[in-house]
């Protein structure tokens, strides 16, 4: 592409064709430096915002219908409106804890364009009267921490952060903080607990949601890194321009990480709502089809927590509603692709083991149930399964997430889709997430379980490469 140090393929990132709202600078070697940021339109959004009344900025974000990118897809502008008036101070907590299996985008945003994120934080603080911003980065992401620290130092030095920003009476500190390895801390109330110096265990809800009772009991906005990274562009170009991309109910773009058995795995900035899974997995502009020309067996559309989809679901658009109705979720923009050689039991075990390892331990069904599921699956994988284990898996699952669990339709077996989200006996959705791979695989690949239990040599134990 352009000169000036722009490379097509930064580590872990493929520049696809299409509108670039948040990944536009990724190709530059020095994309994380203030000079590059300023030279490519950086902090213009902030300056635009500062010229408006805070309420008008909030309105722009509302008009843009900026959907949250952390997993739940809730419109940011609406969430911001939940702040109870007058109960200052309000805080902003940035969720940079990205750990959902298959998810890889926030780390890129933090490492490659930290100023874009900081600009987003500042715009949010300005719009809502937030008194302090805590940018919580996943503990393991050392480079992201360094890049953000350096960017913050530059921003403070240049007057973009801290006291009297850009000479106005807008003053706010953006404080870099970081975790120490716990997936559950990505859940927003656990994130707040962690930021208060506690064990990262989700808080009970209702009645508490962070906008009402958050950090130190004060009203708090928690937003995902990608969500906030959109704000600079929105303010610089306007909500209307933003809505010209994507679909009506899901405007703009989204980053999707396509991993697993595809020819060109990568993180792509994709038009929200209009692109289909088929384009994403097979399109030339994106992942370019299944590795080694094999058949697609299944794909997880929204990170490890999402129920699985199968080839017949490829034509669904990347939009929350239809995906939810079809029995899964877009979640965190992570599509994991599995080809025909993939062992269903083994894959389910990987994911269940993850949730068992990451359960915070608060809720009995999650703490005990996920561990139990893992152990049953491990036993089956080790060739020590019992015929009753399949029903046991389903029943233990039912005690974590009661009732019909969200699932994709399966026309061959005459099974209708069960819409997302699952019900839960737990506080947060982590426990129920562990059920997704169990129910998805047993529903579709029950015979593989049976084979593993009765005919120990039938299926290759190891995942193919």
């Amino acid at each position: 592409m352009a000169a000036d140090g722009y490379v097509d393929h930064a580590p872990g990132y493929v520049a696809n064709e299409g509108p670039k709202i948040v990944t536009g600078r990724f190709g530059y070697e020095d994309s994380h430096r203030l000079a590059r940021f300023e030279a490519t339109g950086g902090y213009e959004g902030l300056l635009r915002a500062l010229a408006l009344a805070p309420g008008a900025v909030h309105q722009q974000v509302r008009d843009a219908i900026l959907l949250g990118r952390g997993g739940a897809g809730f419109p940011a502008g609406v969430k911001w409106g939940f702040l109870p008036p007058g109960r200052y101070p309000y805080y902003l907590v940035v969720n940079g804890d990205e750990s959902e299996p298959g998810t890889y985008k926030d780390r890129l945003l933090m490492e490659r364009d930290p100023h874009q994120l900081i600009e987003g934080c500042l715009i949010a603080c300005y719009a809502l009267g937030l008194s302090q911003c805590f940018l919580y980065v996943r503990g393991e992401m050392a480079l992201a921490q360094e890049r953000i620290a350096a960017a913050l130092n530059e921003a403070y030095e240049a007057g973009y952060a801290g006291r009297r920003i850009c000479g106005t009476d807008f003053s706010v500190d953006v404080v870099l903080t970081w975790g120490a390895g716990a997936y559950i801390v990505g859940e927003e109330t656990a994130l707040i607990e962690s930021l208060e110096g506690n064990r990262g265990m989700p808080r009970l809800k209702p009645p508490y949601f962070p906008a009402a009772v958050g950090l130190y009991g004060q009203p708090t906005i928690v937003n995902n890194v990608e969500t906030l990274s959109n704000l600079g562009w929105i303010m610089a170009n306007g909500a209307d321009a933003y809505r010209r991309h994507g679909s009506e109910s899901s405007p703009g773009t989204r980053m999707f990480a396509v991993s697993g058995h595809v020819r060109r795995p990568g993180v792509y900035e994709v038009e929200h709502g209009v692109t289909t899974f088929r384009e994403l997995l097979y399109g030339d502009n994106f992942a370019r089809g299944i590795l080694h020309d094999r058949e697609l067996k299944a794909f997880i559309p929204g990170g490890g927590s999402a129920p699985w989809f199968f080839p017949e679901h490829l034509d669904l658009p990347l939009e929350a509603k239809p995906v939810g109705a079809a029995g899964s979720m877009l979640g965190s923009g992570a599509v994991v692709v599995m080809d025909e050689t993939t062992d269903a039991v083994d894959a389910a075990l990987r994911l269940v083991r993850f949730f068992a390892r990451e359960s915070c331990g608060k809720c009995t069904p999650c703490r005990e149930g996920t561990t139990w599921l893992e152990r049953i699956l491990q036993r089956i994988a080790d060739g020590r399964g019992r015929p009753s284990d399949i029903d046991l898996l389903l029943d233990v699952s039912d005690n974590i997430s009661p009732g019909p669990y969200p699932a994709a339709s399966d026309e061959a077996r005459g099974l209708a889709a069960v819409a997302f989200p699952p019900r839960q006996t737990t506080i947060c959705p982590l426990g129920p997430s562990a059920v997704a791979p169990v129910v998805s695989t047993i529903r579709r690949f029950r015979s593989e379980y049976e084979a593993r239990i009765t005919r120990r040599d039938a299926i290759p134990v190891k995942a193919a490469s």
Partner: protein, 826 residues
Amino acid sequence: MTGPAGEGPAVEITVDGAAVAARPGELLIEACERNGVYIPRFCYHPRMASVGMCRMCLVTVDTGRGPSLQPSCMVTVAEAMAVETESAAAVKAQNGVLEFLLINHPLDCPVCDKGGECPLQDQTMAYGPGESRFVEEKRHFEKPIAISATVHLDRERCILCDRCTRFADQVAGDPLISFMGRGGATEVNTFADEPFASYFSGNTVQICPVGALTAEPYRFKARPWDLTEAVSTAWVDSVGARVSVQSSRNRVLRVQGVDADAVNWGWLTDKERFGFEALDSDGRVTGPLVRDAATGALVPASWADAATRAVEALSRAPAERVAVLGGARLTNESQYAWAKLAKGVIGTDNVDAQLDDGLPPELVLSLPRATIDEVCRPGGVIVLLGGDPKEELGSLYLRLRHAVVSDGATLIEITPRATGLSGLAAHSLHPRPGETAELMRALLAAAATGAADGGAAGCDRAAIAAAAAALDGEFTVVLGRGSLAETADSAAAAAAMLAGRGSVRFLPVLRRGNVNGAFDAGLAPGLAPGRTLLAAGTDRLAGIWPRVPARPGRDARAVLKAASVGEIDVLVLLGADPLNDFSDRAVAANALDGAGSVIAVDLFVNDSAARAADVVLAAAGPTETEGTFTNIEGRVSPMAQKVTPPGTARADWMIAADLARRLGADLGFASPAEIRSEMAEASELHRALTPEALAASPVEGVMLAGTQIPVPAVEAPVAPGSRGLRLVATRTMYDDGVMLRHCPSSRGLARGPEARVNPAALYRIDARPSTTVRVSSARGHLDATLVVDEGVPVGAVAVGWLAPGAPANALIEAGSPVTEVTVEAR
């Protein structure tokens, strides 16, 4: 605390199809239980914030948007809420939780202390799956670990309900146990070598829903079905915490807290909980003892011989040369019997339940009283004037702590040194010893004018002004005895000044057992039963008592001083130990040696009796006799007899009656009930104490309110002018007292002697911290470890009252306004 089950119109909900009236703001689990529907639970505890962890209490709730499973310990009731506690979904979910809890549980019920009273076991029997579907190996932990001197933790049995950890953090304020690890590997534990050294650790054993936490004094002693229980009142301090005394085969094996809403909320200090051990110890006096003239030893005797010796001495002595000290250990009934014996039969008014270690009784009895609830009122202002509730009255400390931490109360402490509540106090003032009245004058002046003139009593002006501002509106005063190294005069004067402020009410917190009952029974010089001055009570008593002393007698200080110069012929120690409890050890020793005869009525041979008693009469302990107890509020609650006294020990009132008979008088009663009816006759106050009233309020007790005594004029002493270091001596939870010495679980918990000084005063001391120093006064000396403590006023040296091997009263001269000391390296 949970569910501010507030006032207001009832909330109509349906529970399992039936209409139920819930209180506004009430938690669903509570509303259901009050209406007879018990929802199983493990983590929920009504006295702690809900955590919703165990998920056992899931029920189906429909608020109009369709039924869904909700934890009933988290959901507050809402109008028209429809609840199904036994819907198929709820039952499935609950059974699921039960199964989850059991998969890693050792199921060692047959050897578990909790077996038979374990909700997990009960639920499993009732609903649980017959056969385990869990074929994997269970989680393993090293078997029970001692997390403190008394509490053991078996992590394999733990179901991670967060009750003990929440208690330690939220209720006790001692977060020394915590969840460690994560997910399936979560466990409760302490930090490396920091045990769960909390005065309240035993509560965790009581609230643990399974047998994961066990208490050393009870481990493997009994099975719940062997125990019978009686609701009684804790006796080791004056809060009057309600307890369940549990025994088997005539032995008390366990004491547990009872949730009295007005008093202790179910919580106990470990001293209240485990103090019963002393009653069963080898040190108990199980029969009378007399001093053998030849060997000088105390030797067993028959009741007839011992009583005869006592009566011989009593009948020889003129009434004004007889004195009775102590009595706070006794039940109200025994106290009345002894008051009648001493004042009404013998005719002496030299009677004092305190040993110069409290406050003037006429002052205490004259002040308008506040209840604990009134003091702890949400949003209230509390003035703490006196000692450290955490060290002295632990279960009251928990209430005060809750009021400040959870109910928005403001605490102003005016104490001789920092207390266990200092961290929570809005204002902490620590006047120089002897200058509390000074400080109070300055405070009241500042409150009146809105500005402080200057510093006072070593406290700076800003601090005084800030505290004074908080005294603007209504407040209550928690009034106790601060330091024992100065007279009570200064604090008493300060209290009297506050009493001058209209609506102020007081909660007296004299620490010693049933001291409030003793006052009410008239066990103090110049007093008649019923918060009445002797002079004013004479008429009423005339028909009931054989005689009434004509003039007020001597208080303990005067009695002991008189005895030390040979002016007392018979000194009766009614559970008193002057050597250890009187402020002046030298005077106490001389008094014991100088008294004609010393008669001890006690459970143990304490140091004073060992030194000087001619006769020891074996008394029954608090679980061995029936009666009532009066707490700091004036609340009277039953003491239950659960076991028979050891040997031939008898109730104190029987001893009084026996001595009276031998002295030729009949006290006129043959049971505690008969004593109570005579008390109702002898005292206006006790008229409210009817059998009906007691029966009607078995847990909360009966409040005795009102007083016949006007607030006395208390003269504020002139603040001493010297510039030397002054001694502060305050009580500690664990000391070298005779009861604790005989209590295996608390022996060893008393801290070694420490001399604490403010870092700013270190330069005045030629010694390094952590080394042994000698603290000396004109009277004597003691050796202690030097500790730096910012909570001690700059001009003071603080020591514990009865630290093992270093009794503070060796330094003190009874009656001096302050005790000056020097500190030097050893």
